[in-house]
């Protein structure tokens, strides 16, 4: 057994796990606030990456402006999605909102293919290309800096949740909708806010993911691993999203290194089955108690 190799693989896994954690955060945010299972999370990632691509490569804006533009565009998209698709289904059974997001994913993929075609594209390089060494382990620069960005963003989002007025309103709505209403929180506005923030986070995650592996219209597959992450962590748990993200990243990296690339998703889904068998509400999810 080559311990240095194992260490290197684990590090890479944890690094890409950071991205899963970031994307899972975007999912959990919407789920906590609006109880909508957003299966189009991978597609929202993809749209963010393509917006960045459009600003940075097609309009050749500087990188920081392009990121800002992509964030703005994604936020707008989130608002439009919430207003036109999710709001009308308020009060309907959760399965309806879920199926709407299935449709949404289909629409986003189609639109991206119409505008940019289905071909694989490369995002402009914006990370330094000197390899990163941690101890003796070599880490690809894109992965390392991607993970760094992901962790900074996660910290930023957690701080926003903790201290920003809107973040507090979000948490209040998530824990008790009725009480939040009575305390003067505009709950429908919070729903919009949740979608906007989630879309922005997803877009940022998409830009980082795209800068590592390139972008294509089938990038939404990333969202499948994210769904597994949130189930492992518990659908409504921020902590679960972080831990689950790192864990799934690790599992995929190990499966990819020791079994072969095509076993990555297989390993992820096997984890899903095992978690559903032994801990169906995830590591940190709340076990809901219902009354008639």
């Amino acid at each position: 057994m080559d311990w240095a190799y194992l260490f290197e693989i684990s590090l890479t896994g944890l690094a890409s796990g950071g991205l899963y954690a970031l994307a899972a955060l975007a999912f959990v945010l919407v789920y906590k606030a609006t109880k909508v299972v957003n299966i189009a999370i991978g597609e929202m990632l993809m749209v963010g990456a393509y917006l960045f691509f459009a600003f940075a490569a097609s309009f050749s804006l500087p990188i920081w402006l392009a990121v800002l533009g992509a964030m703005l565009g994604a936020g707008l998209l989130g608002a439009v999605i919430e207003r036109t698709m999710i709001r009308p289904l308020l009060g309907e059974p959760p399965i309806s909102a879920f199926m709407v997001t299935v449709g949404l994913g289909s629409i986003l993929v189609g639109l991206v293919e119409i505008i940019w075609s289905a071909d694989q594209r490369r995002l402009p390089e914006f990370v330094p290309s000197t390899p990163v060494m941690i101890g003796d382990a070599f880490l690809a620069p894109k992965v390392a800096y991607g993970a760094l960005m992901a962790f900074v963003l996660i910290a930023l989002v957690l701080l926003l949740f903790r201290f920003w007025r809107g973040g507090v309103a979000l948490r209040a709505t998530a824990s008790d909708q009725g009480a939040a209403y009575m305390m003067g929180i505009n709950v429908p506005r919070v729903f919009s806010l949740a979608w906007v923030v989630s879309a922005v986070i997803a877009a940022l995650a998409g830009i980082v993911v795209g800068s590592i592996g390139g972008i294509s219209s089938s990038m939404g597959v990333f969202g499948l691993s994210v769904l597994v992450v949130v189930i492992v962590g518990g659908l409504d748990s921020v902590l679960g999203a972080l831990v689950g993200g790192l864990f799934i990243g690790l599992v995929e990296a190990l499966a990819g290194a020791y079994l072969g690339g095509e076993y990555k998703l297989l390993a992820t889904f096997l984890v899903l089955v095992v978690v559903l068998m032994i801990k169906p509400y995830g590591l940190f999810g709340t076990h809901e108690i219902e009354r008639l």
């Binding site: 879920f98 199926m99 449709g103 949404l104 289909s106 293919e113 889904f269 008639l292």
Partner: protein, 346 residues
Amino acid sequence: MRIGTLKESYVADAALFDSATQKLWLGAGAALLVLFPFMASDYWLYLACLVAINVASAAGLNILTGYTGLVSLGQAAFMGLGAYTVAILQTRWGTPFLLNILAGGVVAMLGGLVVGIPSLRVKGLYLAIATIAASFIAHFLFANLSITGGTGGLAVPPASVMGVALDTSFRIYWLIVPVTLVLLLGAANLFRTRIGRAFIAIRDRDISAEVLGIPLLRYKLLSFGLSSFYAGIAGGLWAYFFRVVTPESFPLQMSIFFLAAIIVGGMGTILGSILGAVFMTMVPELLKFVFDLLPSTGHDMKVFLSPVRTVVFGLLIVGFLIFEPHGLAEVWRRIRRFFHLWPFRN
């Protein structure tokens, strides 16, 4: 104005086809189905067979989603299981085709139970996510097992009846359409039995259903197994119709197609499965037709056909859920009521 529908016994009230008018229309429909192959061109026959296969699979998904309130995004994968079972049985042992199709259904049902047991113990949309996982695992198995012929897939010899190979649309029509009709009749009858009514109770309020003595896990599994069985049968028909099965034949998009079909057609109605599958199968053809009408503007518009279709599928799902959640079946019912009540306003 519809009159004279007085029922004097429970049996008459619970009958599947209860009025003379309905029987008349059904008779006319059956006659049309029999005469259709003799009148239609090859292209329309091909479409009719495809529609019938899709109707069978959509009816299965409707049992699960429309009647039991669970979402599956693995309908295509279970069709794949059925199709591969048929292909393997037919190529290796050449067993009779009806037996193969039935075996396809049973294998898909067993696959459904395997996916269902972990994911149906918890409430919520876990099944939907587990079925996505299942379809990726199924794709992996189809592409990597030796018995499934790898990425190249398997070629399926045509089914044959007494030496006549069912190798044209005209001939296979007589296999596909009757099987689909039997499946539809089965689904319609299912919801007149205890099991079907238990499904509906679970959809409407699962806790109440449990209190009323319906074991949730067992019935949810049953519903998922049945829906997979339908998918498997449809997949078996698919294998005999296209006569080549590859891992790429049953993508996730196909599962979304079936979900779209029952949403557009109407969840929780048999008619909805039929209308939805017919409509959704025709949409790509219609789009192709529209694209052919477009004036050629130098560069090839054909490359946009597939993404436009993807967008249209998504828009149909979203649009119907928001504006017409009961689907085309409800539109149909409104039109019918207009004639029933005429000359009065409804």
